[in-house]
């Protein structure tokens, strides 16, 4: 005759299965909700509100270039492992070129005459909500 669970002293296979299932679920959840410790870094290129390119800078192994000719002031974006810049632009102010390389989450390059924004995002969220400067 099977005893009620409360009266049994030795754990059964079912108890082990429950423990294992809970531990597996906990581990799964831990990795799902924990921020990655890697150096995951993505550059998103937005032209007039529309995403036109994305680069996984942390996965890049060789430099890549993106030439944009069909915009008011043609320019060239250059990405390398871990960083990105606007290497040349025909825009009159050159503010976007002056910024140079950016390599940190939260950094941005903006070319106002072209309404082009390059934003860096990644696993390590910045410890601020906005930048003044």
């Amino acid at each position: 005759m099977r005893l009620p669970a409360a009266e049994r002293r030795r754990p059964t296979l079912w108890d082990a299965a429950v423990v294992l299932a809970v531990a597996a679920a906990a581990l799964l959840l831990f990795f799902q909700i924990s921020p990655s410790e890697g150096n995951f870094l993505t550059a998103t290129v937005v032209l007039d509100g529309e995403v036109i390119a994305e680069y996984d800078l942390s996965a890049l192994t060789d430099p890549v270039s993106l030439r944009l000719d069909d915009i008011p002031y043609p320019l060239t974006i250059q990405a390398e492992p871990g960083r990105i810049r606007i290497v040349e632009s025909s825009c009159p102010s050159q503010d976007c070129v002056h910024i140079g390389w950016v390599d940190r989450v939260g950094a941005q390059i903006i070319c106002l005459p072209n309404r082009l924004v390059i934003s860096l995002s990644g696993a390590a969220e910045p410890d601020f909500d906005a930048v003044s400067g």
Binding site: I33, G49, S93, H98, D129, S132
Partner: protein
């Protein structure tokens, strides 16, 4: 069966306890757009987020049509077009109050800020971004036109007049701050009390974050776009930063930036790389960041000691970052990475 039920309950409990990521509501309503020759981002949290963010954008776009001197139909363009004429120009109350504020602040700061700098800005090509170095003779001819104390304002009549032909107003040093103040009013009137305005990196923190914590605003290192001088914790305050690194051109190895000293007609070289002003008054923060960059560190700190209502972070060419004592707790200095040292200025 009970065991399966227990297992299901446990898994459900774990799943629920893991759901601590921000909800859709926590991310707020985000509105990004171009206005006033810069990019603007309005983020508003809470139930009123969407109408408040839309209303803020509409208000900023309305003000741009009023204050821009590159839009031919704006009221500022009308004022400039009638410079030197006998009759004053009828203007909206918003513009009259902004002109009055700017003229008054200019007098307080011995003309370190002058909204009639437009003819000199044009001579340098900063208005059109077709840069050039004006000759001294050109500047000598233009500098007498830079005199905002000569600007005639009649608040009762709602008119203003530029008395001399060639005079022109440029509100670039104050327009974003004015717009931030008005956008804040619109957002609060819509019932929202947690928002962040980023008007061309002039940051206005409305209330606190949905978590109840202050907003965190990094201050750019003027010498490295990947570094920050530190992070400010702000609630109901605006943070405005001005520096020569923002817009400039180089010729023969010399850097010419866009913040012109009204007394010389040349880019200001006062010993500062950047000035950050923190104030509950968005307009004051914007105007002072430009004016005190021109004024230099000693005059800036003298003005801070004499006046109330704002705090400063000065980044000097000597590598010293100076924060005024009101920011001692709110500013977390991180400038070591850029080789800066840090001081607190006291009254």
């Amino acid at each position: 069966m009970k065991r399966f039920f227990s297992l299901f309950l446990l898994l459900l409990l774990l799943l629920c306890s893991g759901c601590s990521a921000p909800t859709v509501g926590d991310t707020g309503t985000f509105n990004e757009f171009f206005a006033m020759d810069t990019i603007m981002r309005v983020t508003v949290h809470g139930d009123a987020g969407e109408p408040a963010a839309s209303a803020a954008r509409e208000e900023i776009e309305r003000l741009e049509k009023l204050l821009s001197r590159t839009l031919p139909d704006s009221q500022v363009s009308q004022l400039n077009a009638h410079a030197g004429e006998e009759d004053a120009v009828a203007l909206e109350g918003d513009l009259i109050s902004l002109l009055t504020f700017a003229r008054s602040l200019s007098a307080d700061l011995d003309d370190a800020l002058d909204i009639t700098i437009a003819p000199v800005m044009d001579a340098w090509g900063f208005t059109t971004d077709h840069h050039q170095i004006p000759t001294q003779a050109q500047l000598d001819a233009l500098l007498p036109l830079v005199d905002c104390q000569a600007l005639e304002i009649d608040p009762q009549a709602g008119t203003a007049r530029l008395p001399n032909v060639g005079m022109a107003v440029d509100l670039g040093a104050v327009a974003k701050g004015f717009a931030a103040g008005r956008a804040e009013s619109v957002i609060r009137a819509a019932g929202a009390d947690s928002a962040l305005l980023d008007l061309g990196r002039n940051i206005t923190a409305i209330g606190v974050k949905p978590t109840g914590e202050p907003w965190r605003v990094a201050v750019q290192d003027p010498q490295d776009s990947n570094l920050y001088l530190g992070v400010l914790a702000l609630t109901d305050q605006t943070c405005s930063t001005s520096g020569g690194y923002e817009r400039y051109f180089e010729e023969d190895g010399v850097v010419y930036h866009h913040i012109i000293d009204p007394s010389t007609g040349y880019p200001a070289h006062s010993g500062l790389l950047s000035v950050t002003v923190v104030s509950p008054d968005a307009l004051l923060a914007d105007a002072l960041s430009t004016a005190l960059f021109v004024a230099g560190p000693e005059r800036a700190l003298d003005y801070w000691r004499r006046e109330g209502g704002f705090e400063l972070i000065l980044c000097g060419e000597d590598g010293v970052v100076t924060a005024t004592e009101g920011l001692e707790d709110a500013f977390a200095f991180q400038g070591e990475d850029g080789g800066y040292t840090y001081e607190i200025a006291r009254r």
